[in-house]
Symmetry: C2
Subunit: 516 residues, 2 copies
């Protein structure tokens, strides 16, 4: 076996089954090793941001890592934004980044770059220089990734092609749940003592295995519940408890949080403003409010919640959280708006759908309206780096081929990683993209006003408007092999969505919207 | 004036006129400052790789920097690959990278990232934390960039919005040509002493101001001439000396270089193999060969050549370099091939055209066939990070609105930064894209064979073929606002190219090619 085969075999035996790939010359042995490793699937992305975003979507659905295969520093750079989002989602990913042969680095050939410096900004990095420890290092990388990290392995070209005899294939050590008992005790004390506490939920606390303990904790203590603004994967809809989310803008978030004397976080970071604003604090909790956080590795949050529930006393209280009942709302009619699109998607999404939300300003109404929709997984933009929706939907569909995927997508952000459509077509994925075309970076126009500028000059306007020319999403989508239609009313959206749901394979629906 | 206005004003007064922008919330004051700085043009790219690649093309044509406006670490990551290419081309660029307010970094808000670590991989980096020195730092950055560097300025949000009174706007210190006289003397000794010397040309040595001294040096000494494999900007065609280029694959490059006893480089790096191959050296010159390099800042190479010419003795010799005469070759007919496309472009390109070459394997015949074409600027992929062609052509067209630009473009690499088409449409740029669609990463299939693999398995094949579905380039291009046609013969290519040359604005011609 050569190094590339050892690496692929170890990855497969460690549970990795998919490699989202955009290879180059320095990855040829790894490409060949894909062929000699039955059970390892290769999926081509025509841009690295597609590969890394797909690995993020895959990891969020599976709780186990996919690999990416990237070509030196430039390939990693192209994939960096979606790895950043993955880092903020605690998604397990293993990147394989090919590099020049060890002895070729001194030549400073044109593609030579400081890969480590780039990779370390999104997680743990290791250069696999040694053939003897290659298998163990790979298994260790999978183990590290499983704890909720992006792990980048830099694999020199000569290590890939070098032959090794009689090496054993290593296995990852079993992951141990890592929980800080003191933090559980502190949280329990707060929830036992306070009659006005909030349990702020994020990460795996918003998955079924976490929510079942959340429900019990709420029943015992009467605490309020709130989800973080951008959950990585929230299992919700009819049959779940009604859980609002922390508002995006700091004024509203402070208003909501200020209602509580104490806040206990389970899987959510300390609430902070997404951006800085003059006269507005970074931290959204004031000094009078108590804050405690369940400290654990990201995947162990449900177990930490279980321990917490064990430590709680049953109190008399009058805060009952409603259970969402399935509502089949009347479908909106007439002229399209972001609100109507949100309602229609919530009303029509089939049972067990995966919703990837990168609708930005267009889909503001979706979260509320889908609370009573069929049970579903909601995936959101954790790291703020736009261009995650289409790739993430692609990876989620590969992770869960039996579940329909809907990418609720804004136009501006779609353009960053538009190449994902081709991968959806090639792999025949059941992804329906609802492309909200408002032909503006509307969020920037809002933020411009928030920054105190009353009048938008010609140049600033031109840099926030996606007009002159308008993008023809039907043409672009069909050009990449995904059937597409444009709709001009709520009724025609309903018709198009019905067809997309019934027909197998990917679809794109262009939804021209007025700027709100 | 606030910090953003000070920065924009300083940049303008330092000679920067264009800002290729993809802004976000942390760049709103800079966006507003664009409006209050008449003379500074903003150009929107719908992806950061478009902005950085355009800045590369602009800088290569103008020898003075454009700015980019990027949104935190993810925006820089998205633009990194083309900044890497720019670094390898010694292109002057000033990146403005917005960051959170200084006091907001402690909150570790979702978009927070280690920007410095990413930026330093492509050049010089400075964080502009201080309002008082902001103008001087900006002027210094332009000065640094002018020496042939990518300079990244990280501009905190609060520094942009803070008001300063009575600050003076700084100017860059005049650039001084930086030449190592010893290296000139050493090169002169070699060329005076050896009857079998090669002058290897790169960077600014391949520009008119360098080539005029190259011609004199050749006449005096009889040295051979060769261009580096991937020139950043080569002014050539009819009326210039016939200068071959160093072959790409190391076997052929060694063969060519081994003919010479001594090699003097002017602006070209020490010749090395692009990739490592088993049994092949990294360095392509052997130990018996003398090597010397003119050491100077990239822009001072023509001056170094002038000094060198002064130090040379006139020798009797019999190596005469032919002057290229304009040849109007017969246009090929019938079935399309990469060779025929190369011939047609070379034959039809108007005087003073700019050719951006990212044709990879399809355009192998272009370099030779265009030696006798109308005088033109040839721009090539210096850093090996594909996805530079469309953005670079965009920037070159903005730099030189009176010159027709041709992007000789492969399909696989086009997909990385396909969003550039929209910018070409919006700005009405005279860019004609010859899109060679061979529906394969053909170079990878060649490299796979070179790596010793005889049979390509199903998975490796699927990761190097761009089929199932084929991309419809006409649909994609029109979808982004660029008129497009597909051609099916040499004759129809000639017709389409004629129309594209005559009509103003951008065009794309899809050229389906067999894999060679």
């Amino acid at each position: 076996m050569n190094g590339a085969e050892i690496l692929m075999t170890t990855a497969l035996e460690s549970g990795i089954k998919v490699c989202f790939s955009n290879p180059g010359t320095t990855e040829m042995p790894l490409l060949a090793a894909l062929d000699s490793t039955p059970g390892m699937r290769g999926v081509l992305g025509m841009f690295e941001g597609v590969c890394t975003g797909a690995a993020d979507g895959y990891g969020r659905m599976k709780d186990s890592p996919a690999m990416t295969l990237l070509h030196l520093g430039p390939g990693l750079g192209n994939g960096l934004a979606n790895l950043h989002n993955a880092r903020r989602a605690d998604t397990p990913i293993v990147n394989l980044i090919g590099d020049h042969a060890t002895w070729h680095l001194a030549a400073d050939a044109p593609l030579t770059m400081d890969i480590e410096s780039i990779a370390k900004t999104v997680g743990v990095t290791q250069r696999l220089d040694c053939l003897e420890t290659l298998s163990q290092s790979t298994a260790d990388a999978v183990h590290s990734a499983m704890s909720g990290q992006v792990v980048s392995l830099i694999v020199p070209h000569d290590v890939q092609w070098s032959e090794a005899q009689g090496l054993e294939i290593a296995s990852p050590t079993a992951s141990r749940a890592n929980i800080n008992a003191d933090s559980v005790a502190e949280a329990a004390k707060i929830l036992n003592d306070s009659s006005n506490a909030l349990l702020l939920l994020g990460g795996a606390a918003l998955r079924k295995e976490g929510l079942k303990f959340v429900e019990k904790i709420q029943e015992k203590t009467g605490c309020a519940l709130l989800a973080e603004t951008f959950p990585s994967h929230f299992e919700r809809g009819a049959g779940s408890q009604q859980i609002d989310r922390l508002p995006y803008f700091p004024e509203k978030a402070i208003d909501v949080l200020s209602r509580y004397e104490c806040i206990v976080s389970a899987g959510a970071p300390l609430p902070v403003s997404f951006f800085a604003y003059q006269g507005m604090p970074s931290f959204l909790i004031n000094e009078q409010q108590k804050f405690a956080s369940l400290e654990s590795s990201p995947r162990a949050i449900p177990l930490a919640l279980e321990h917490l529930e064990d430590a709680l006393l049953k109190k008399g209280h009058d805060r009952r959280i409603a259970q969402n009942q399935f509502k089949n709302p009347e479908l909106p009619q007439g002229e399209l708006s972001g609100k109507k699109v949100s309602y229609i998607l919530a009303a029509m999404q089939p049972d067990n759908a995966i919703i990837v939300d990168e609708s930005v300003t267009s889909g503001g109404a979706y979260y509320q309206s889908s609370a009573t929709a069929m049970p579903h997984s909601l995936i959101t933009l954790t790291g703020g780096a736009i261009g995650y929706g289409m790739p993430c939907a692609t990876g989620a569909a590969i992770a869960c081929p039996d579940r329909p995927v809907f990418d609720f997508q804004a136009d501006g952000s779609a353009m960053y990683t538009i190449q994902a459509l081709w991968t959806q077509a090639r792999e025949g994925l059941d992804v329906t993209t609802l492309l909200c075309s408002n032909r503006n970076y509307n969020i920037l126009q809002m933020e411009y006003k928030r920054a105190g500028y009353r009048h938008m000059g010609e140049k600033a306007r031109a840099l926030t408007e996606l007009d002159n020319p308008f993008l023809d999403w039907v043409g672009i989508s069909k050009g990449m092999g995904v059937p597409a239609v444009s709709v001009d009313s709520a009724e025609s959206l309903v018709t198009a969505l019905k067809i997309a749901i019934e027909e197998p394979g990917p679809h794109l629906i262009e939804i021209p919207l007025p700027v709100r």
